[in-house]
Each structure stands twice: as structure tokens, then as C-alpha cells.
């Protein structure tokens, strides 16, 4: 029998507010344990939650960006269970009336994933287990999250990873989350089931938790699909359970030996009034919403004549896109946008990743890059020389013109000077001339190499080519 996988994803995404969802504690990552806590987020008796308005605005931004339907009145509910990392014995979340329903995440021009809902909730703390004792760190307790739930419509591990990349790029782009996987501000659970191709019913699903990288999402889902196929093919059944992905072995393992069916006893939190989101508020948030990645990509293709691939690459990160646009504008139209794109994608982004730049304070400024590219444009230096100038810029922070001057890298475009060197090289290599004249055009490369070496790469490569061929032909019998 042929099977097809059905995958639904739940993402917990931390909203990039300065304070927690229901109190004024800081959300900064990495503080010493239990340093970002107060009476409220510790659930001390007598304390009450007060909703962070900015967190709601961030959540609304996401709803607008995915075209979800925002409820005028949504409800915060208490989800009850006992666990040491849950200070109040319940989590404040949204249950039957979430603030946003529906919506679609556009992965690329041809693929999109429909959402069931998005809701706002608070994070729990973190249990730390040691050999002798367990400890709890409540710094994370009360951090604002949105949970984004897709319909079970994803058909492969690769699609799941692509969706997650798009979603992460979207939340970063609209500025509501740093989407940092290592710090846990973008966490994913995957629901995986399989069914015979053509069947309309959903199979029994397993939920995989602890997926802390996109690669592991793909690995875990791929493994899980195979595991389920084998089970069914061998006549067994898939048991509904929660699994953990073990990155080392690449396998999914049951989280609990026996599946506990929790009754969370949700009910509306009487400490919090209904969350009202009226049309004025929606409109106000919409005005702050930046151009979305897909729209921006389309505009890059249209306005800058970029190929789709380049446009997609540049618009994955709003800061990169803005860096690109500023650089193009700093070239004053003297450099084709495609060249700028090549440099941003090929040099700037890898360098930024390597050096962990903030694009708002780049080591190579947009003006610096533009100045460098303009030097190529007007023929002062070659593309190749430009790479070494670029390296020098990174090292010293000098502007490209003074690097070119200091190192004497100005491109030689004087025809007489070039002819002189070309003739010299030809004179030194009669055998290769003979080969060329016998029809071996490959030898051209040898000559170009020799000439460029002799000139330390400073000669205008276009001119060198033209002159070389002319001089070679002139030696024909």
C-alpha cells in the first residue's frame, strides 16, 4: 500500500517585548536563574495579571501579516495542571476563543500553508534536573508567546522545514520576534500521521517535541514517517503519543511510558477581562506593518530587475533587504542592481553571519559597499581586485578609494602599456603561440594568466583580452 504523510505544526514564538506578558519583569535572555521574577510571575498569593498591550499589538501584527481573522472579543483561559515550572498551577492561554483564526503563511509564490489559529499565552519556567536535586528557574515564566497552529496539510518533511523557515523569516521581518532557535524563542512541535494515498481520513498522530533546529525538524519527521509506515506495514498500529526527538541517534522516542490523557479543565480566567480588539486598533497596528517579504520580493524583481532567487534571498531578512536597497541607492545608478545583489548575497551576508553583525550597524556600510562597486563600474579596479579591496575594508575600515591608492591597485587601461606587456609575454612563449595558431584556443587562458600575473592583476581584463587576440592574430604567418 502507498502511504502519504500528513503533518501539522505548532510553533511557539516568543514576542520581542521588553517585559513579560502579565508583569513588568524583563524578558532578556541569559540572566542568572530567578533574577527576572516578581510576585506576579512567581504566582505569589494575592497577585494579579495585567496584560501587556505591546504583546497584543505584536500578536495582531502577525495576524494581519498572515491574513487571519482577528476576533473582536477573545478570552484568556486557565489551563490547569500541576508541574513545578508552572507557578500558579495553571497557564494563562487562549482556548475556545483565540484572538486570531485562519490565515495563511505564504512560503513562496507557489506554496502556502493554511493556519487553524494563533493564540497568545504565557511561557512556563524551566526545570533543571541534577543528579541529587531538581531546580526551577522562573525567568522564562510569563514570557509572552504566540502559538501558531497549522492545519494538517503539510505533505513532507521538506515542506515542513520550508514553512518553518518562512514563518521565522516572517516574524523577524515584521519585527515581533527574534526567532532565535537556540535561545528557545522559536520552538516547534510536529504532529505526524500517515494514511493510504487517496484516503480522506487522518491516521493516528504522534506529536514530536523538542525540535530545536530546522534540520532536526526534517530529520525527525522523516524518521517518524518511516517508523509509522513500518508499523502499519508489519500489521501493527500507531499509538497516539508524545515523542521526543533524540538528535544524536536521529530517532523519535516516547516521552512518557504511559500516555496520560490530561483534562486541563480550561475556563475563562476571571482575573482578566475580555480582550477587545476593535477596528481602530487593527488599523493602527496595520499602519505599523512593514511591507511583507513576498510583496517585497515581487517589488525587487520588478524594480531592480533581479532574478527571483536573488529577490527571495534578499527579502528573507528585513535588515538585509533594507541594506541592499540603501546600497543600490548609494551607487547613484552607476552600478547595476544585480551587481549589488551579487555582492550582498555573495559577500556581505556570509560575512555578517560569520562575524555576527547587526545589520543596523554593519561593519561595511552601505556607502562603503557602493563606493567599492562604483570603482568597478567606472573601471578603476577589476572585479577581482575589488575582492581584495573588500577584504582590506573589513580589516582596516578604510574607504575603498584610499585602499586602492595606498596599495596602487588602480586598473591599467592604457592600451600602449598593455600592448607592451602582451608583446613581452608572447615573445617569451613561442611554443604556445604555435599551439594557438594551430587552433588550440585554450592557450588563451594561459596567456591571460601570464599577463595578469605580470601586471599583478591590475590590467583591465576586457582590454587585455581584446589586445591579446589582436596581437596573436598579427603573428599568423
Amino acid at each position: 500500500m502507498q502511504f502519504e504523510p500528513v503533518i501539522g505544526l505548532e510553533v511557539h514564538c516568543q514576542l520581542a517585548t521588553e517585559s513579560k506578558l502579565f508583569c513588568g519583569c524583563s524578558t532578556t535572555f541569559g540572566a542568572a536563574a530567578n533574577h527576572h521574577v516578581c510576585e506576579v510571575c512567581l504566582g505569589m498569593p494575592g497577585t494579579l495579571p495585567v496584560l501587556n498591550k505591546k504583546a497584543v499589538n505584536f500578536a495582531i501584527k502577525l495576524a494581519l501579516a498572515v491574513g487571519g481573522k482577528v476576533r473582536e472579543q477573545s478570552v484568556f483561559a486557565r489551563k490547569q495542571y500541576f508541574y513545578p515550572d508552572l507557578p500558579k498551577g495553571y497557564q494563562i492561554t487562549q482556548f475556545d476563543r483565540p484572538y486570531c483564526e485562519g490565515g495563511t503563511v505564504q512560503v513562496n509564490a507557489n506554496y502556502s500553508v493554511d493556519l487553524i489559529r494563533i493564540h497568545i499565552e504565557e511561557d512556563a519556567g524551566k526545570n533543571i534536573h541534577e543528579r541529587e536535586a531538581s531546580h526551577v528557574d522562573y525567568n522564562r515564566a510569563g514570557i509572552p508567546l504566540v502559538e501558531i497552529v497549522t492545519k494538517p496539510v503539510i505533505k513532507s518533511a521538506a515542506d515542513a522545514a520550508a514553512y518553518l523557515r518562512s514563518l521565522r523569516s516572517l516574524v523577524r521581518h515584521i519585527g515581533i520576534s527574534d526567532g532565535n532557535l537556540e535561545e528557545g524563542s522559536f520552538r516547534c512541535d510536529a504532529n505526524v500521521s500517515i494514511r493510504p494515498v487517496g484516503s480522506m481520513n487522518l491516521g493516528t498522530r504522534c506529536e514530536i517535541k523538542n525540535l530545536n533546529s530546522f534540520r532536526n525538524v526534517e530529520r525527525a519527521i522523516t524518521y517518524e514517517i518511516e517508523r509509522q509506515k513500518e508499523l502499519i506495514s508489519s500489521g501493527s498500529k500507531v499509538i497516539q503519543q508524545t515523542l521526543l526527538f533524540d538528535a544524536e541517534s536521529g530517532r523519535t522516542l516516547p516521552m512518557r511510558s504511559k500516555e496520560e490523557s490530561h483534562d486541563y479543565r480550561y475556563f475563562p480566567d476571571p482575573d482578566l477581562p475580555l480582550l477587545h480588539i476593535d477596528t481602530e486598533r487593527l488599523a493602527a497596528v496595520e499602519r505599523e506593518l512593514p511591507e511583507l517579504p513576498l510583496a517585497m520580493s515581487a517589488r525587487f524583481i520588478e524594480n531592480y530587475g533581479l532574478p527571483e532567487h536573488d529577490a527571495d534571498m534578499l527579502t528573507q531578512d528585513r535588515d538585509v533587504a533594507s541594506y541592499f536597497e540603501k546600497s543600490v541607492s548609494a551607487t547613484d545608478g552607476k552600478v547595476p542592481a544585480k551587481i549589488v545583489a551579487n555582492w550582498v548575497i555573495g559577500e556581505i551576508v556570509p560575512l555578517a553571519t560569520e562575524q555576527k553583525w547587526n545589520f543596523l550597524k554593519p561593519v561595511i556600510s552601505c556607502n562603503g559597499l557602493a563606493a567599492l562597486l562604483k570603482l568597478i563600474g567606472i573601471g578603476t579596479i577589476s572585479n577581482k581586485i575589488a575582492k581584495s579591496v573588500f577584504e582590506e575594508m573589513v580589516k582596516t575600515g578604510e574607504d575603498p578609494q584610499s585602499i586602492v591608492n595606498r596599495l596602487g591597485l588602480i586598473q591599467v587601461s592604457d592600451e600602449d602599456a598593455i600592448i607592451k606587456v602582451v608583446d613581452q609575454i608572447l615573445d617569451d612563449n613561442p611554443d604556445q603561440i604555435a599551439q594557438f595558431l594551430a587552433g588550440k584556443e585554450k592557450v588563451l587562458g594561459f596567456f591571460v594568466g601570464q599577463i595578469m600575473r605580470a601586471s599583478k592583476g591590475k590590467m583591465n581584463p576586457g582590454l587585455v583580452n581584446t589586445i591579446l587576440i589582436k596581437r596573436l592574430e598579427s603573428r599568423r604567418g
Binding site: D263, R265, D271
Partner: protein, 496 residues
């Protein structure tokens, strides 16, 4: 009562005390000494106090003395206030009368305590209550029952029994309580003092340890309407830390009451017919009928008014309150604060199980179980869902009634104070005794217990005045007119 104090303010009102302190006519130390002596001799007989510390009082008055000297605006200068022990105080334990919080010391002051301190009041101690405010007799306290000062074999009512008994016995002129289903009004009636349960949201709940969040409200005990107004003015204010706190509560009541004209001409008073049914003591009934005639004689119009859904208030209340309580009390798990079992345990689950088993009393466990059940999957709609529907109906019925009248009048409780032990093994009868007060909490209305007489055993009787949301001013105006008219003839003191 023997005292060596140089100053003898027995039965003095809060407003008089504040005036005397501000004018310098009385020394804070003499005032404090009087109440300290009185508390030492009487509080143990009533078991009204859970915490009382002379050192704390002395350190408070030394700071307060400076503030009085500096001429700060202190409307409650030197007024001793007792605080129900489910309201957080930074410098005193806050136990909820539970073994669970026996050694719990909050890190912060409740909003109302902050306000009282700012106004110059002295926090004189913490009063006994039914554990986590769950009860109507103050018998459910892990610190033992409170005894009614009018008859030490009887209950003071609950859950704010300690505050009511203490104010009746003048261990302080005023006290704070909390009222979730009648926990201020019923003990006020049983102890013969004024008890105000403000509109839901008029007084911040920040620092009130939650029993049932949508019903809990902090309010006052006092021996006069003016003192009630004084405390209400201080504690009623918008608080951004409580999302259910309302704007537009109208303090400055004390000034508007000072300009009260006599008479109640044009006031429409509605008699809630459902609350005068069978089970009502004849002495309570006739005492309230007398009060009605007093209102009539002062020019008020009297109407019979029906609030039909009130007959469902007991079931609705005991589902909603317990459901909320089951979640509110989940935080007492032995992990971060409160009682933790000393049993050798092997599993996390056992820490929860034993800590909660040992920390909570019987009534609290009963209500947690009931509430947990009401919210359980498969039962939610039939219990919690239905109860919230009925709650909306009760609010609608009250609204309709308030289209016809300005103030509603009823008994506070069907009987006067009953004997300790009389009902404790019969929870249903105990719950049914709350019928007169529960609807008010379900609808979020302000209501007040006003002393209006005594039965043949010299036990106090209270009537309940109920107003529209945020109509505390009308309620107090009505109560003050009544007090001015008959108060002096009703004034008796418990013989202690």
C-alpha cells in the same frame, strides 16, 4: 474592663480618633496603649486575632508621629485598623487561617494596606477567618473558631468573623474584610456592626488572596456609617495592578454625607420578596419590617420587588466559586511557598498529594473537589456553564428591579447568630443560610449590612441594602439617614 491607659477612647469613632490625633489632643502612644491593653485582654477570649504584635504597633506609631508633626494629609491619622488575614501585609504573616500558609510572610502590601498606611492608619493586627474565606461561621479556621462577643457560645458569622467580632468588641473602630458570598455582610449582621461590600471592582483585589476571583471584594467593618465612608474613601480607587479594578468609584463620600439632608423623600425602596420566604426567623422578619416603617416615615416609597432567579443563586454560587477556587488554590503545591510535606516521598506527585492533604482543611478540600468536578471534561457545560448562564440571569433580574426602585432591601441572613457546632456537619443547611447575600456577589453589586435590632436573646439583627453598581453613595446615604433616625435607640454594647 480595666485599663491603666491615660486615654480612654472606648467606642470612639474612627473619625473622632483621627481628629484628636491630628489636633494633638491625644498622644498616639496613649491611644495605642488603650487598644493594646484591650486587645491583650479581649482578643484571646474571642479568638478574633491571628496576629498581633505590640512591637509592630509601636514602630508604626513612631513613624506616624513624625508624619503627623510634618503636617501630612492623614485622613485616618492614628486610626487602628484590623485586617482580615487573607489580605497581604509586608511586615506581618498572612495565613488565610490555613495550615498551608501558617508561616507565610508576603513580600508586599496589598493595595488596600498601602492606602491605609498612606492615610495614616495603624495596622493593628490580622484577624481570624474561615480558611481561605470559605465558610459562613468562622468555624473552618486552623486557628480555631471565633466567638461571638454577644454570646461566646455562638458563631460570629463568616468568613470575616474575626474582623466583625473585633469591631463589635471595639478592639478597633474599623476593620477590613472580604466578601465573596456574604463574608462581610453576614458576620456584620451577626455581630451588630456595619458591613459594606462595595461594587465588584471598586476596591482593588491586588494583595487579597483569591478564593473566587470574579466574586471576591474587599470591604469594611465599622460601628457607624461615617466610619464606613471614611475607610471606603481611602481604599476605593482605581488600581492598574488589578485588571478588574473599575474607574469611577466615587470616594469623597465622607464629605457628601456631611451635607446630608434629613429625610428620604422620593427614595424608592424595593422589598425583595424572594428573601422573605420560609425559614426566615420571625424576630429577623419583624425587626426588618420595623426598619421598613422607619424608612416609610422618612418619606421613602416602599415597593415589593421580585428577583425570581435568586432562588438559583445558591447552586450557581457554589459552582462558580468552587470552580474558580479549584484553580486559585492550585498554586499551593509545596514547591515555592507554603506547607510542604515532610513525608519521605519518591515522586513529584506525592509532594503535591501530601502537601495539599496536610495543608488544607476539610471545607477547603471539599470546595476544591467540587470545583474540579464542575470544570471537568464532560461536566463543564452542565455545571460551570449552566451556573454562569444563571449568573447572567440574576444580574438581568437585578437590573430589571433597579428600573423600578433605587435601593433593594432584604434580611442579611435568615437567622441571628447560631451556636458553634450547630451547622458545621450539615454543609447544605450552612450553604442555604447564604441565600440572601450570594446574588449580590454574582451580580457584582454593592450592598451593606445595617444593624436594625436584636432578637429576644439580645443577638443583633442586620438588614441588607443593595444598590446599583457604583452606587455606594446612595447606599451610605440611605443607611446614614436610618442611623440618624433610630441609631441611638439601637445602640447596645456586648457585655464582655
Amino acid at each position: 474592663m480595666t485599663t491603666t491607659a491615660a486615654f480612654h477612647p472606648y467606642q470612639l469613632s474612627a473619625s473622632e480618633i483621627s481628629k484628636l490625633v491630628r489636633s494633638g489632643e491625644v498622644k498616639l502612644s496613649d491611644l495605642a496603649e488603650f487598644y493594646l491593653d484591650r486587645t491583650r485582654s479581649i482578643a484571646p477570649r474571642l479568638n478574633s486575632h491571628i496576629y498581633f504584635d505590640a512591637n509592630s504597633v509601636e514602630s508604626q506609631i513612631s513613624v506616624l508621629g513624625e508624619r503627623v508633626k510634618a503636617g501630612e494629609d492623614l485622613p485616618m491619622a492614628g486610626v487602628p485598623v484590623l485586617v482580615k488575614d487573607n489580605i497581604c501585609t509586608r511586615d506581618m504573616p498572612t495565613t488565610c487561617a490555613s495550615r498551608m500558609l501558617k508561616n507565610f510572610r508576603p513580600t508586599y502590601d496589598a493595595f488596600v494596606v498601602e492606602r491605609l498606611r498612606k492615610a495614616g492608619a495603624i495596622i493593628f493586627g490580622k484577624t481570624n477567618l474561615d480558611e481561605f474565606a470559605m465558610g459562613s461561621s468562622n468555624e473552618n479556621s486552623s486557628f480555631g473558631p471565633v466567638y461571638n462577643p454577644w454570646d461566646l457560645t455562638r458563631v460570629p458569622g463568616g468568613s470575616s468573623g474575626g474582623s466583625a467580632a473585633a469591631v463589635a468588641a471595639d478592639l478597633a473602630p474599623v476593620a477590613l474584610g472580604s466578601d465573596t458570598g456574604g463574608s462581610i455582610r453576614q458576620p456584620a449582621a451577626f455581630c451588630g456592626v456595619y458591613g459594606l461590600k462595595p461594587t465588584y471592582g471598586a476596591v482593588s483585589r491586588y494583595g487579597l488572596i483569591s478564593y473566587a476571583s470574579s466574586l471576591d471584594q474587599i470591604g469594611t467593618f465599622a460601628r457607624s456609617v461615617i466610619d464606613t465612608a471614611m475607610v471606603y474613601d481611602v481604599i476605593a480607587s482605581h488600581d492598574p495592578r488589578d485588571s478588574t479594578s473599575r474607574r469611577g468609584s466615587s470616594p469623597e463620600l465622607i464629605n457628601s454625607l456631611a451635607h446630608l439632608k434629613s429625610g428620604l423623600k422620593g427614595l424608592r425602596i424595593g422589598i425583595v420578596t424572594e428573601l422573605f420566604g420560609s425559614g426566615l426567623d420571625e424576630s429577623v422578619n419583624s425587626s426588618i419590617r420595623d426598619a421598613v416603617r422607619v424608612f416609610q416615615s422618612m418619606g421613602a416609597e416602599i415597593h415589593d420587588v421580585s428577583v425570581p432567579s435568586l432562588r438559583h443563586s445558591v447552586s450557581s454560587y457554589y459552582l462558580i466559586a468552587t470552580a474558580e477556587a479549584s484553580a486559585n488554590l492550585a498554586r499551593y503545591d509545596g514547591i515555592r511557598f507554603g506547607h510542604r510535606t515532610t513525608e519521605q516521598v519518591n515522586q513529584l506527585k506525592e509532594v503535591y498529594k501530601y502537601s495539599r492533604q496536610e495543608g488544607f482543611g476539610r471545607e477547603v478540600k471539599q470546595r476544591i473537589m467540587l470545583g474540579t468536578f464542575a470544570l471537568s471534561s464532560g461536566y463543564y457545560d452542565a455545571y460551570y456553564g449552566k451556573a454562569t448562564q444563571m449568573r447572567r440571569q440574576i444580574a438581568r433580574d437585578f437590573n430589571l428591579a433597579f428600573e423600578r426602585v433605587d435601593v433593594l432591601l432584604s434580611p442579611v441572613a435568615p437567622t441571628t447568630a447560631f451556636k458553634i457546632g450547630e451547622k458545621i456537619d450539615d454543609p447544605l443547611t450552612m450553604y442555604l443560610g447564604d441565600i440572601c447575600t450570594l446574588g449580590v456577589n454574582l451580580a457584582g453589586l454593592p450592598a451593606m449590612s445595617v444593624p436594625c435590632g436584636y432578637d429576644h436573646q439580645n443577638l443583633p439583627i442586620g438588614m441588607q441594602l443593595i444598590g446599583r453598581p457604583l452606587s455606594e453613595k446612595e447606599l451610605l446615604t440611605t443607611a446614614l439617614a436610618y442611623e440618624n433616625e433610630v441609631g441611638s435607640s439601637l445602640k447596645r454594647q456586648p457585655a464582655l
